[in-house]
Symmetry: C2
Subunit: 636 residues, 2 copies
């Protein structure tokens, strides 16, 4: 047993190792960005470096000790340490280079997921909301079941031919594996998309799908584990319905906690002047967002899912109430946390490939898993796209479908789900296979993204603003707060979208946004007469002066009205609404000009991507509609 001081020194050394690994990765990323190398992405790189360090650690730290520990002793070890500690490492020294698996779920994932929600490009996201929800919910379930079925086929075959006598892998284990590897990762592909300015709707579809399916996969895994713990090997309908209930309950509960936190935060910033002190404001924003994670975990829901919805709503409501400085501060803070956490996780994956001692490689299962992955992705994308295309005015073309098929990478969430439980042989096999799947998909699919885009002739270098310049089709709210339809009748386009979203959109614009932010129309005009005192109390003074068009979501469109590859540049810029809000626009534009000047001064074409993207997308408002499109030349 090492003394506390020795322990502390070892901990520091290990952490230093990972910091050095991160620094190495960052420098290589920089060199690659500098030289415009695209065959491998930063996450792929982080894995490679992790693998190298893992090999070095394994073969430099007393290999004889590693041999004395037997894989079969795992269960005993786990049961001795009553709380099932997760990773077992091959010798005491390697055991040091490990972190509590809960670390991934409780410290590293939340900022990644929150950032995903917070940096969501609402415009494109909501335009494709129907398709995204279908892919995320139905798609993930289909994917998990197909993977489970195929893997179960392979496992049964192995048992039948008695390949591995000690092998005991039931259908529920297969289902668990299916759920774990159904969480697709947006990081790598989307980084390439961003760099190449790929078609915004493809980007929105993939981003939306991968963000939401993380939530679905996480809760699915939780539900399956609840079912597993019910214990019987036969199908147990009581346990099934209880885990189904848990799935729905946890989802709704997490959603409610995330939503409530965001609403409270929005109201705090609306009714106080915390913005006078950006440090306090940013702290409150950070602490509130974190507290929704902790609250969800404390009451037994899923913090990650709560934090995701919290992030989406914080971006939709709270962001508008922040001071200009805090808008930048919060974006930059979460961007940094996301970057560090992500690279740490991918480095750690590489390291754990060699330092985790209880890997359980089963070649047949691994082959089966890769086949299952491929088939399940096909069963997810193509049939659902076909069904969605029946309802979409602008269809999802085949090249986009192929790209979505190709972009099914697995990453941090799958890893974090797999590493949580590695006590039993089946769990170890799941962990090992998941790790391999992450490596292969990140390297092969991530590295091949650029090539695949060229090959599928997908439009790149699209001006994201040009494709969204359809703001003129929104119901127009004038300064008196009375709704009036714009000159060009929007009826035809509205017919495309589901009534539910139309309802939600109106509810959001006329009630939620005015209640939660400073934007108009004033509630005194939209709420029933009986609620007048309440409406007066809730309406911000700015709402009377402001126009709907000035809001960041003026182009929050409900229908799938932008086709893939079609140029949607505006024919009729809404001159009238622009004039109506002249005064307010002047301020906004000054801000933009200043930002632009800064950007040019820095000569950093890429550097502003992460930080100012979300920022400017929230500032542009209706101004977008006059940006000329330059996308046509690349169209195929």
């Amino acid at each position: 047993m090492p003394t506390a001081e020795e322990q502390h020194k070892t901990d520091s050394t290990n952490l230093l190792l990972f910091v050095a690994l991160l620094l190495l990765t960052i420098f290589t990323i920089w060199i690659f960005k500098h030289k415009r190398v695209r065959f491998i992405h930063e996450t792929g790189l982080a894995i490679v470096y992790g693998l190298i360090i893992g090999i070095i650690l394994k073969y430099t730290s007393h290999p004889e000790a590693a041999n004395t520990l037997n894989v079969n002793s795992t269960n005993a070890t786990c049961q001795q340490e009553s709380t099932c500690p997760g990773l077992q490492f091959s010798n005491p020294e390697l055991r040091q280079v490990t972190f509590n698996p809960e670390l991934f779920f409780n410290i590293l994932l939340p900022p990644i997921i929150f950032h995903a929600g917070y940096s969501l490009k609402k415009r494109h996201f909501f335009r494709n909301i129907g398709s995204i929800l279908t892919f995320a919910f139905v798609g993930t379930l289909v994917s998990a079941i197909v993977i489970a079925a195929i893997c179960y086929g392979f496992v049964s075959a192995m048992m039948l031919y008695n390949v591995d006598p000690s092998f005991n892998f039931g259908f529920v284990d297969c289902l668990l594996f299916g759920a774990i590897v159904s969480a697709t990762d947006p990081v790598t592909v989307l980084a390439v998309f961003k760099e190449l300015k790929v078609d915004v709707n493809l980007d929105a579809l993939l981003f939306g799908e991968s963000v939401l399916n993380d939530a679905v996969a996480i809760i699915l895994v939780k539900a399956i584990q609840t079912y597993q713990k019910a214990g019987s090997s036969e199908f147990d309908s009581a346990a099934f319905f209880s885990s189904l209930g848990e799935f729905i309950g946890v989802f709704l509960g997490s959603f409610a906690i995330g939503g409530t936190t965001a609403i409270i935060t929005a109201l705090i910033f609306k009714f106080t002047k915390l913005g006078q002190h950006p440090v306090l404001e940013t702290s409150v924003f950070f602490l509130m967002s974190w507290s929704c994670f902790l609250l969800a975990e404390a009451v037994g829901f899923t913090g990650i899912v709560a934090v995701l919805f919290c992030g989406v709503l914080q971006a939709h409501y709270t962001y508008n109430n922040l001071s200009a400085e805090s808008k930048i501060r919060t974006k930059q803070l979460f961007e940094l946390l996301n970057f560090l956490a992500e690279n740490f996780i991918f480095s750690y994956m590489g390291v754990s490939m060699f330092t985790f001692s209880h890997h359980h490689f089963n070649a047949i299962f691994i082959v089966g898993a890769f086949i299952a992955l491929f088939v399940s992705r096909a069963c997810n994308i193509y049939p659902l796209s076909f069904l969605l295309n029946l309802g979409r005015k602008h269809k999802i073309p085949f090249n986009i479908q192929h790209m979505m098929m190709f972009a099914g990478l697995r990453g941090a969430v799958a890893f974090a789900l797999a590493i949580r439980e590695t006590c039993y042989e089946e769990q170890q096999m799941i962990f090992t296979t998941t790790l391999l799947i992450v490596f292969v998909t990140v390297w092969v699919l991530g590295g091949g993204t650029t090539q695949m885009l060229t090959w599928l002739k997908i439009k790149v270098d699209v001006d994201p603003d040009a494709a969204t310049a359809v703001g003129e089709n929104l119901p127009h709210v004038n300064n008196n707060g009375n709704m009036s339809e714009p000159e060009t009748p929007p009826v035809r386009k509205y017919a495309d979208s589901a009534w539910m979203f139309k309802f939600w959109y109106k509810f959001d614009q006329y009630y939620l946004k005015p209640i939660l932010t400073h934007s108009g129309p004033p509630l005194t005009n939209t709420m029933p007469r009986c609620c007048l005192p309440l409406a007066k109390c809730l309406t911000s003074p700015q709402a009377y002066a402001e126009n709907l068009d000035d809001d960041s979501d003026a182009d929050f469109i409900l229908n799938d009205d932008v086709s893939f590859g079609e140029n949607q540049s505006t024919q009729n810029p809404p001159e009238n609404s622009r004039i109506a809000t002249e005064g307010i626009h002047t301020v906004t534009n000054e801000n933009e000009l200043k930002k632009d000047a800064d950007t040019q001064q820095n000569n950093t074409p890429l550097s502003q991507e992460g930080s100012s993207e979300g920022f400017s997308s929230s500032y542009n408002g209706i101004g977008l509609s006059v940006v000329p499109s330059s996308g046509d030349d690349n169209q195929v």
Copy 2:
């Protein structure tokens, strides 16, 4: 034994409790700032809230369990848990509301200390460097020894009259206590100073003293603990010299690690164009600064001290190489981390007052400690001021001395040092007494700062730039890189400062700064002929075009040439140098104008304090000299 899941829920609940506590503190801070309440500072508030939560926790969670645990069983508990876990809490549920004491030293203190170093106002700091070093080194040693002597007097008296027979508190314990409570805390007083814009030299003296004496106290405690572990109760000269050696070794080692890290970081940013990607740049900056902490801990030095020097040097060199965006990003990041960590520590202090079960209150010792504190501060400030005044051209007046005497608050560092070891009764008594000292000094001295400033008739509302506008007395380096003396001969003023600092200043300006940053003069002019190839290689292209005056430290003065309360507004603005660097100034000023415009737009007079202070102080350069002084009216 709770299951992993229960444990996780409890952990989440506890963390949620602290997050809620922080939020509560922040809101109260905001209300207090809003209402301009100054009788209690935010740190004092955090303690009060912590105390309330502590009481609630203590009396709501199974009080009967608390009574069954006996204080005398402590040693047994400690020895059972072989690594001496620090805090013992009065019942299993309260035990949950605890954190590993190492958390304070390894997670919460580093950002606070780094921020202190990074936000150091170099101009005023270096002008008073001699006095600051004297107060920090000699003063802390004097303080520790005086406290130890007085406390030992009280302890001996108690033993003589047999007040507490079980009592066993040797001189070394007293010395340990003296070292722990000699670490003064800058937070509370300086926050008040900043708000009131108090005399900059008083501010610099107190800030410099409290930052550096943390380092001295931390290493002193480490050395005394080494001596203690040698074990004999008699004076052991071998152990004494080994701990003296350790004191010097650890100080120099930590200094070297911090310095090396900062130099490497500066060179990285000088010779790469990482600034094109601010996220990468900020990450590297953060990781490098953190790695110096980890490296120092891994090799057995003191991470906190390393991080302090690293922070000072990062601000002095690396900061100038950062891109404009990263300058703001890094400032804001560490400002936020500092704010959160600080308030967390002070909240936690309040909570631990009631939840820590092994408090050892000894009224006589506590009274003795407060007397010792008062006497030791007097023995530190007045004699040292007297000695320093013999050498200073502009003396430290008595009202400033009284204010320094009054401003001896104890805070986070003293707490972190005391909580590290709480196994034995003596350590518990030290912990309890330190906690009380922190509370009383933060509330009474912190709360009385404004009153005391008025009472002592110390100048407030001083324009910090006006008092430092003495840039014209520096040796002037023209564009050819040849040194030339300015028109007004500086000889008389230089005579005031020690040769060592003159040497250091020249060495820094002509060699270190040109090597580590982009500023001039070119090394090709200053280095010996034989090193010409190396000099060419190290000199940045900007150095040939740049002028010394353009650097952020143009007013880096070595002598204590600014008197307290005297108006130092410039009589002769150096027109010539201003014209010489016109082109470069244009860019800088544009940046400033943009910043100013942003600031005005936000209407946030206080919000910019923390974030833009360091920024503008680094941008102003020689431009300072034309700022008119407005300080005279308030002078008494």
